[in-house]
Amino acid sequence: MSAGTRRRVALRPGAWLVWGAVVFFMLILAGVVGAVVVDSFGTRWFSGWLPSGWTTRWYGTTWREFDLGGVLIVTLEVALAVVVISLLIGVPAAYALARRTFPGKRVVMVAFLLPILIPPITYGVPLATVLYKFHLAGKLTGVILANLVPAVPFVILVMTPFIEQIDPKIEAAARMCGARTRVIFTRILGPLLVPGMLAAAILILVRTVGMFELTFLTAGPDSQTLVVALYYSVSSAGIRAQQEISAMAVLYTMSMLVLLVVALRFVNPTQLVTQIKERD
């Protein structure tokens, strides 16, 4: 890479094909996102490459008509509650699973894997039925409970390998020096677990804000998150101006992008989909 050497950019046909496919995919992606952004700033766009004029007023109208302030607060409340509760439940369980082998461990592991393997709609319908039976659905509580179902197993799956790679001798040494269990958790394990918990928290946050199905099945009029409100506004298209919906979609994209940028500062992109660590 020094100044004198120049690498020749000569690619084989296979490489051209692969890079062409990547560029094509990115172009489509840019078109999908770009069309919505351009639409949200246009006055009227019935034909032609670009709208006939530019305006920002759709953002104001969509904010007022869909009560987006309230929706954003609900989204934040749900996401934060899910993050905190899932960590509180999931991290101790991950510790137990990482440190002990016991009869029936496989059964427990399968029970924790199933909510991730089965599509949300499949267990969401019975879950919503049960929540309605106990008068929990249609409220914030129901939405939080429903979103916790995939979140807790996810925390356990992310944290178990993380805890496994912490040497148990450290705990034994602390115990030798007279630390009690509580002290071991707060002073020894706590600080060591912070990076893993941070990664898990951010992944849960992104997933909860983007989770459509479970929130959709359990939300009432006052407990819609942003993505559900967006869905309803799209299905009520025709009543509202198309640009208002686009403006809302842009607001949703922006909030997700902020989360994504924050997330990528802490975690590797491949961790967004699994807990498998990239080895290179």
Binding site: R100, A111, L117, I118, V227, A249
Partner: protein, 307 residues
């Protein structure tokens, strides 16, 4: 006696501790209670509900109130039964395309090079956008007056707007856009776990690029591809918002999740909805079972990676 009782209890505690059961396991309790209360119980509740047809529902009127009436209704009514094929026709091609396309791209990108992090970051974007926004974007981009059709018309490839949305293709596109990055990142992480020296060793023995891929990398990657396919399929199989928004929810893309939702929240027939949800879970688990069964016949030993 008074002395013996605590001794016996101690002994039991020791015996349990020998098998790994001590107080640490109490930490597991909240999570187990949670999963049982919010996952296992609703699932079993739904299962038993699906065997008790709701009085006054369409099922009871047409098929009686026997325990299997809801299932009978599902398989007798072509409008319901065909949702399985509709879903599989969307889910299987989407998962296959995503996995097959991600292999050469991930193969090309497994080393270190400048801009790798940027590319993976851009690819993560669709995952965070989610299906709702992807569908909304597809409507604007691929609709009759969207940029894509405009390009096709202006360049003369098509002489009238091509219909990409509100049909099968719209939903398939949305599944590929939101599913491909997922499959790609997963494949990439499996590929980077394979030791590159194995390929170099093959190269010294005279194997060409294709032979190295076909006989060294692919067999080691295949179990990972099985998992990738399963997870991609789960994502595609549960297609719901995009099937309504960019699809044709009454016809071509009436997938099984729409049928379940329709039964539960429009007809308020929770038994039928539970039955459909159970059938949906069963079909999905059958496909996953087949793939995992095939995977169990593959070599799954060390890949030479550092892990």
């Amino acid at each position: 006696m008074a002395v013996q009782a605590p001794v016996a209890r101690m002994a039991l505690r020791h015996r349990l501790a020998d098998r790994g059961m001590d107080r640490t396991l109490l930490l597991l309790l909240p999570a187990v209670v949670f999963i049982v209360a919010l996952f296992v119980y609703p699932f079993l509740y739904g299962l038993q509900l699906s065997f008790q047809p709701q009085p006054g529902s369409e099922t009871v009127r047409n098929y009686g109130s026997g325990p299997f009436a809801d299932y009978h209704n599902f398989f007798a009514d072509p409008y319901l039964r065909n949702t399985i094929w509709t879903t599989l026709k969307l889910g299987l091609p989407a998962a296959l395309v995503n996995v097959i396309a991600s292999v050469p791209i991930a193969y090309r990108m497994r080393g270190r090079f400048r801009g790798k992090r940027t590319i993976t970051t851009i690819l993560v974007v669709p995952i965070t956008l989610g299906t709702v926004l992807t569908a909304e974007g597809l409507l604007a981009f691929m609709g009759p007056t969207g940029w894509l059709n405009r390009l096709l018309l202006d360049t003369g490839i098509a002489d009238h707007p091509v219909r990409f949305t509100h049909n099968y293709w719209g939903v398939l596109f949305s599944l590929i856009i939101s599913g491909f990055p997922f499959a790609f990142l997963l494949t990439l992480s499996y590929l980077s776990g394979i030791d590159p020296t194995l390929e170099r060793a093959a190269a010294t023995l005279g194997a060409g690029t294709w032979q190295r891929f076909r006989h060294i990398t692919l067999p080691l990657l295949a179990p990972g591809l099985g998992i990738t396919f399963c997870l991609s399929f789960v994502l595609a199989f549960s297609v719901f918002p995009s099937a309504i928004m960019v699809g044709d929810p009454a016809g071509q893309t009436r997938v099984i999740s729409i049928a379940a939702f329709h039964a539960a929240f429009e007809q308020y027939d929770y038994s039928m909805a539970s039955a459909i949800a159970m059938i949906m879970g069963a079909v999905e688990l059958i496909v996953i079972g087949l793939v995992l069964g095939w995977r169990s016949r593959l070599y799954r030993g060390a890949t030479g990676g550092k892990g």
